[in-house]
Symmetry: C2
Subunit: 651 residues, 2 copies
């Protein structure tokens, strides 16, 4: 077995973000999203559907009367909130928030059964039926989110109470599941426990959590199919009668053992959560076969099933992948959570092999689909992220029933908003990786990071107007000179990078490995590295097998994919064509939606006014009028009322 | 009230078809479809889902034991079969077929209740619940088909037994429905009784049938909504729980009174059946308001909601219209029955105002969607008629769940096959119209028609290789010279027509009215009219507001719309582009699927082989290779195995 090299991300507490683009979002999570979610969890948001999530725990703890209400996975909303709080506290103390979170921790602890079990749906609604419908009822999924929250909160506060709760729960799960006779040889319909247990393993060092994760992963997809067996055992009842989760095995990736899964099938969030878990175990156990499984799924996604916006999941049915090269722009699903899961997967792969292709995809998902998922008020969210919207057709043609032309307040199934919150609150984890000899810079985000290298405490500062401009200044502070390699990612969207150290330009030609420019030297305080990434407007083309992009182009500059909106370009965006030789120009508009680069270029518009009434005409020559097209970054779409939008434009 | 001029179609028995294109289809209906359907109705087709339709009648007649089986409208399959048999017998005697049909007539008569009621679903399955769920249960729809069958069979055979059955049923319905107190002020969820009662009125002259039709039409859409009222009255039960037929009032066109319906909404078949019924009453009663209602719906369909193939209904959900200019090629529904209904509507409008635009649409639907609906084995049918198919995605991306890439054997809901049969068996009705002074020729179909004009028995013969060539020779035979106008339709797909009489070219410039060239003279036996319609290959463009056709072109020649198939052009049809100046050439291929014109032209194919693995690339120039594209008529698609197909091609 070949040794798997890994690097590690920095601890969140060691990364301080102060960034042109991201600081505002992170403060939004702190000041608006998390407080708002807290109100929502407590059913105090007027006009919103009640969450009942806190109340479910209170009832389960025997402290109030009532019945369970909500989705079968309602508990996970509390856990995701607590996890986000953990990340926020880890980066900035907030005694009042911590007091509230401590109360939630206490509540969860009180709702825990003496055997360690926690799940308010089963405790309140179906006692005695625990572990009888893993396929549909998210029991281990909820456990996973609780464990992730526990680890985050423990890291942030050093308090062990919730970690103990999580360990007791995990130990109980370990007593229920496993290869031994008398245990359940099964796994959850929605992967999540896997990556959570790996975090718990890393936090506690307890080997049984690693073993249990491996069991869940390796058991998946074996014959006879576990979900079929438990379905028959429980008397063929369904929790979600309209979705056939049992017959459609690819939906929950139970159609094949994970090592035999060559393509990304089924529910997109589940697939990428699973892949993240496999990557965790591969890194930890140095299992090349598991790593190979990750690489196969990765390759299939990024070369055949990934939207240019970093979205995945081509169809609403099953919130799922469909088939290779099937990426419709309008009926797409591209759930925000799925892109977050893709980031989890990419981030883990990046720790196993520091290749910039992983960071490229991570960045693509982050700067486009994920940020697009949340409005700048922190209270409105996209669950589905289309690349083309014709609002008139939404609600009229039912193939668009899942597509909303504006962000929505809160969802009956509220998975995306807290997922965005926990990702943004933990953004600091994604910027750097280190091993004993190298500091990798994956993302260019202003701020400072504290790193222990070569026996010294080193601080690396980034100053940049990225993502609007491609210049980044990195500054080193160190107790004493330290020798290490600084590996700077050269993103694929840049066609030229220059690096100078203390004013002296480096020849980086021979020092680029896997998309990172490696600068190996002894660093001392005050060393200044200047990275200049060219940031041209790219005219992107899709693979010729993509039916939805052929003959079209999309604009990208830096990490941002751009789109046309009706607000800038009028109705009927399908009539706009971009001449091949038209020169796009980027310009910063400080007053537009908080400031952003727009791209303008001379375009053409197919003339419609003198066509007349006929629906079809013979031998009609199509003529166009000159038109100035204005593109804005995709993430900012749908902030100026209801209107058309498209990423791909005819060429 | 302005007088509404009407012409009348010829009786079927007066038209004898002997045509290059259609004779084969009509013989197919006679020799295969109708016998095969008879076997199906009697559950004698191996491997097919049982119909049980005949058996339901036998049980209802008390002649055998058993339970009702099938759709709530299963009876209509028997009726449509009998109607088709009527048309076949009217054009060609067949004693054995007539004997079988007489037995069916006897069976229906024996299943009729003493009060006149006939419906095996209610009689067998829900006795006592008659007329409690008009919205969902097709009770009057089935009655309508029975009445249509009765009229057809009566016209064919002169036998009154089934006509009496129908009249007793209609009289009973008249005793149940109407404006009078104690009667039901309602109407059916699926329009059909309206046009059926009008046929019965014309066959019997009984005014009450006209009045009842008018009542059904005018009652529709009044407030409070009848379907809501009956829903509450019956205790809010559903027959089709998954379709919300009660809440979605536009689905069954009960959202507005018919005179206020400005656009074609809801289930497409219901809309055009309703429109046909309105046109019938408008013609009969000279009600300009009703005619205006027809014109509004017609205009909305043909200028905003009609596929170039004559298909209607843009979405699978509700088999329905969606919104103006929304005509997706791949997720389209375009049910075969809907195009048949559109032909009914167009044909009625054509009798009210002899304008060639009605015949153009009728011809478009007939030569494309309707013929495409049936395979040349007479045993396989399309229910849904897409304009673009990527078979790999069918079954994988669920937005295509309704789309089949090959014709299917028989359907659980078997409405389309018998509808195709009855239309083709009655094709003779659609060729001519007459009034006292004029003979209109709407379609060019070889054969002979017997017409009484100016006191003489006149025979008009057509000899033509249409639709492959645009030359038609018409020959007059008459007992004695007769003065009348022969009005020859000049189809919109022809950019030039020449007419000569007895070898002498006419100057027709001044004699064209509403798309018909009018030749007014005294005709004598042996007169020969030669019509030469230019039949160029047309490069069709869609209205600039159509998102699905912009930047694309479709080829049409004569009445046929053409398509690209994988069988001729290889996979990945989306990579094919047609240069604007490329000259198409039509050539007859006698051995291809029974003989047809194909169109070939120099095209380009976007090169894909050296692209590599990346899904998206920056600043990649798209280059093409020369390619010879081969188009076949749309009706003939999917006869050479599973493959891609597209009507619209990039330009």
């Amino acid at each position: 077995m070949k040794h798997i090299q890994t690097v590690k991300p920095l601890k969140l507490q060691d990364v301080h973000i102060q960034d042109t683009f991201w600081s505002e979002y992170i403060e939004l999570v702190r000041d608006v999203v998390v407080p708002y979610q807290w109100e929502a969890l407590n059913d105090r948001v007027p006009d919103a559907e009640p969450s009942h999530a806190i109340r479910n725990f209170q009832i389960a703890a025997g402290e109030t009367e009532g019945e369970f209400y909500g989705m079968v996975f309602q508990d996970s909303d509390v856990a995701k909130w607590l996890e986000a709080v953990g990340y926020l506290l880890e980066t900035k103390p907030d005694p009042e928030l911590e007091r509230v979170a401590d109360e939630v921790v206490d509540l969860i602890a009180r709702a825990q059964r003496s055997d360690g079990y926690i799940n308010t749906f089963y405790t309140l609604k179906e006692p005695g039926k625990e572990w009888t419908n893993l396929c549909e009822c998210h029991e281990l999924y909820c456990a996973g989110h609780l464990i992730e929250a526990a680890v985050a909160y423990y890291h942030a506060t050093g308090k062990t109470k919730i970690l103990d709760v999580a360990c007791r729960f995990a130990d109980y799960i370990d007593s229920v599941f496993g290869p031994e006779p008398g245990k359940i040889q099964g796994y959850d319909g929605h992967q999540e426990i896997e990556l959570a247990l790996m975090k718990l393993y890393h936090a506690t060092g307890k080997k049984s959590y690693l073993q249990l994760t491996r069991f869940f992963l390796e058991e998946r997809g074996k014959e006879p199919n576990f979900f079929q067996l438990e379905y028959e055992k429980r008397g063929k009842t369904h929790h979600w009668p309209t979705l056939d989760m049992i017959a459609d095995r690819a939906y929950n990736q139970s159609h094949l053992p994970i090592r035999e899964q060559d393509s990304a099938e089924g529910h997109a969030v589940r697939l990428v959560y699973m892949a993240a878990g496999i990557a965790d175990v591969a890194a930890e156990t140095e299992d090349q076969g598991l790593l190979e499984a990750c690489r196969k799924l990765w390759k299939n996604i990024v070369t055949r099933r990934l939207y240019i916006t970093g979205g995945i999941g081509s169809m609403a049915h099953g919130e799922a992948f469909s088939l290779d090269y099937d990426l419709p722009n309008d009926t797409v699903y591209a759930e925000t959570c799925a892109s977050i899961g893709l980031i989890f997967f990419a981030h883990r792969m990046l720790q196993i092999e520091a290749k910039s292709e992983y960071a490229d995809v991570l960045e693509r998902a982050l700067y486009n689909t994920v940020v697009a998922g949340m409005a700048k008020d922190g209270k409105h969210f996209f669950y589905v992220n289309p690349l083309e919207v014709w609002p008139d057709a939404c609600g009229k043609n039912h193939i668009y029933d899942h597509v909303k032309p504006v962000r929505q307040g809160w969802f009956g199934c509220a998975c995306c908003p807290p997922n965005v919150a926990r990702l943004l609150a933990s953004l600091g984890q994604y910027i750097y990786s280190v091993n004993s000899r190298t500091v990798y810079t994956h993302l260019y985000v202003g701020g400072k990071a504290n790193i222990s290298m070569d026996g010294s405490n080193v601080t690396i500062g980034q100053r940049t107007n990225f993502p609007w401009e491609g210049e980044v200044t990195l500054e080193i502070e160190t107790e004493s000179p330290a020798s290490f390699t600084l590996a700077l990612r050269l993103p694929s969207w840049s066609d030229g990078a220059e690096i100078s150290v203390n004013g002296q330009k480096l020849d980086i030609t021979g020092s680029i490995v896997d998309g990172y420019a490696r600068i190996d030297r002894e660093w001392k305080s005050g060393d200044q590295i200047r990275l200049t990434l060219s940031m041209p407007v790219l005219r992107m083309k899709g693979h010729p097998l993509l039916r939805s992009t052929i003959g079209k182009t999309a604009l990208q500059r830096g990490p941002f994919v751009y789109c046309l909106e009706e607000a800038d370009n009028g109705k009927h965006l399908h009539q706009i064509k971009l001449p091949r030789d038209s020169q796009p120009e980027a310009a910063f508009e400080p007053h537009l939606l908080g400031g952003m680069n727009v791209i303008r270029l001379a375009a053409e518009r197919i003339a419609a006014d003198d066509w007349g009434m006929e629906l079809y005409k013979a031998n009609q020559s199509e003529y166009t009028r000159p038109f100035q097209a204005t593109f804005i970054p995709y993430y900012a779409w749908a902030n100026r009322g209801v209107g058309e939008m498209t990423v791909w434009v005819k060429e």
